[in-house]
Symmetry: C4
């Protein structure tokens, strides 16, 4: 959490920022809350009513194992939300102030995160009817659509930061924010492909979404500025 002085916080100090800016602290707090809740609510989609009805332990275990598509969907969604949280965390280490527009863009990001348990439940339920069932195709397609929409507000984040670089912590600049837009657009493109793949194999699409989260995780630069940034740092 940023720790602005009281005068920074009120945004009214003489040498301070424009009067419509607020420090980013409380925006980070509520965002963390939403991420934490959304990622924890996913567990409510896991339930195995059939296990209780089994007469022998082997059958009950089998009923638990048979739920593996729900576990796959859970894992893909969990890791994707965790990844978005990591990106959100990294983003706000570069942001010093929020204005009204950036607040609403952040709420659009949180809308996507809050929605995540819904397509997850759709896919988990549909995969129970068969791994390539028609219902599973529609559900995985809807999953891809919701997560594609989820990437869009990120493009506006960079757009806003490029237009109003005083929101950024130095040495980050408008030029840096413009370069970052590409990453956001890339995510949207991959999810669009996923929607197409869902029509062929819902399971393959869910696997792709899981891989995407892992790929982003591995390639994320985290808190470290890249080579270009190092140049700006100097």
């Amino acid at each position: 959490m940023t720790e602005p002085s009281t005068s920074e916080r009120r945004g009214t100090s003489a040498a301070g920022p424009a009067a419509d800016l607020a420090p980013s602290g409380r925006t980070e707090t509520i965002s963390d809350g939403v991420f934490a809740i959304a990622i924890t609510l996913l567990v409510l989609n896991l339930h195995v009513p059939g296990a209780v009805e089994q007469k022998d332990a082997g059958g009950a275990l089998q009923a638990l194992v048979d739920e593996w598509p729900a576990y796959l969907s859970y894992l893909a969604t969990f890791l994707t939300v965790a990844l978005v949280w990591m990106n959100h965390h990294a983003l706000f280490t570069h942001i010093r102030y929020v204005d009204q527009k950036l607040q609403w863009i952040n709420i659009a990001i949180l809308l996507g995160i809050c929605l995540a348990p819904f397509p997850n439940a759709l896919v988990a339920d549909a995969l129970r009817t068969g791994l390539s069932s028609e219902a599973a195709k529609a559900a995985a397609g809807a999953y891809g659509l919701v997560f594609m929409l989820m990437t869009l507000p990120w493009i506006f984040v960079w757009e806003r930061l490029a237009r109003r670089p005083e929101l950024l912590r130095p040495p980050y600049t408008a030029a840096w924010a413009r370069r970052e837009r590409v990453r956001g657009a890339l995510g949207a493109a991959v999810y669009a492909c996923g929607i197409g793949i869902a029509w062929i194999s819902p399971l393959l699409a869910m696997g792709l979404f899981l891989l995407l989260a892992l790929f982003y995780a591995v390639t994320a630069r985290g808190f470290a500025p890249d080579h270009e940034m190092r140049a700006i740092d100097v």
Copy 2:
């Protein structure tokens, strides 16, 4: 989050506030928690049991699309709660201390926020029975009533701040708090109209509540004091 010194926090320093005051920090923390949870729990109202039973992907997709009134209700409620959070955030940038009464008024605000998923579920369920069904009229009316009651504690917030201006951060004054009461009363009036409209068309009423959230969002002054405030600032 405000960052009072330890002596400010205990409210016992010689030059500090009256002994029954506490800094607003932890009140903001729990409020953020409640907002974050209420806004995330809304997703539990979204479920499409019919989609799984479909034999073809087109039918499953259609079942998903047919849920649009639930999505509309979700969006209206999500944006309204987000808007109230934005107002709460803006309010507390002006507040330095809380007393026992302001704490209870804040709990009344949180009561409304905690309740929000309930009328949202009522409307989403009722709209499934028909867009102008009698049940939908009653549900949209109840929705308007709960959200109207939700605006009332805000009037008492300004009332309390007007009576005890030492709770405010300078340069905000009792006169400023008195002027703000009007905004609260306006919200209550609009929701009262919405209850009437719900009796004609539940869908129109829900659209109005969505528009109201967007209107407030656009006209919100956010953290910037208005022209009058600038005068006080000088």
Copy 3:
């Protein structure tokens, strides 16, 4: 939230506290989280399946109104949890450090808070079967029992603080902590009476629990030390 210096936080500074003490900050954070979630989850007990089945708006409204015992139970539980949070907040303004034992006593307090939605759901469900039904008597009795158990860890809080006054912020002392034990025991006694009353009238018992929350709220001294404390202050 307390704001200890880094050395205070690590509890290793030369002039600092004993090595098994930690500042109370993160304990307050997770407690606030639990309070916020428990108070928000209560809404999941509100649902009116009958309203959707009604053919006319009047009948649908009637179905909503008929749920009033559930609303009463909701309100009593909401206000009681809010009240406990207020007391918890007031308590931690007097606490500077936590040790292992105080942490576990705090977890016992949180156990009660986490459980609160359960007896609330029992009472709301049982009152639907009749305001003085046998099931309602058992449910209201169970409600009283859970809330009585909820008051017990508070006695241990004061006990622990009396034994280890270095956990307290000066000028609060072991003598003060000993005096506070009485308040905790009083709450347990009132809930014990409530269990008896539940056997005569469940509704009366729920009304009593609601009144108890309001009474404590009115009589709470909040952050202000009482007359005795003022004497200690000087």
Copy 4:
């Protein structure tokens, strides 16, 4: 919560840490949120539909008491999550910075915590079919498996801290982190035994998991460094 200076937070100060490090503050915040939510969601597994159907209060009370295996499971899971939170809290008092890898290891810890309500629900549901039913054996075995997997990321925490001791607060060193790995492995071993015991008596296994939480609680050194650490301190 740690309170790094702004320059520490950005991780770019000249004398500061390597550029890929971030202070641990926001990681603690989201972790606290996940712990608080997971521990509170457990209550959703408690429900006694049979109590409402009883005609006399005695029968309704009996129905409540008959749920005791669900209460036992609730208590074991609640205390285990609380214990993991205590350990997490103690761990982060020793950590100053997080890097990308430690963040992902922490997310793996949180994955286990988020999952906890699922095996808890399995066991509570299965014990209703009989205390040594085949379904209960499978459920308690699954419970042990999930909690065993939950202990694994802790080994990687110590591994990471041993490899990169600059993440630690002095005087904690790589040698200390290596010694701590043993504790994590011990937990995994106990849960593995529990899986075996579940095949003989599910109830005994659940009792063991409850005892394990209590044992760890009693033996935990909390924030106090042990004798070896005192030596390092000097």
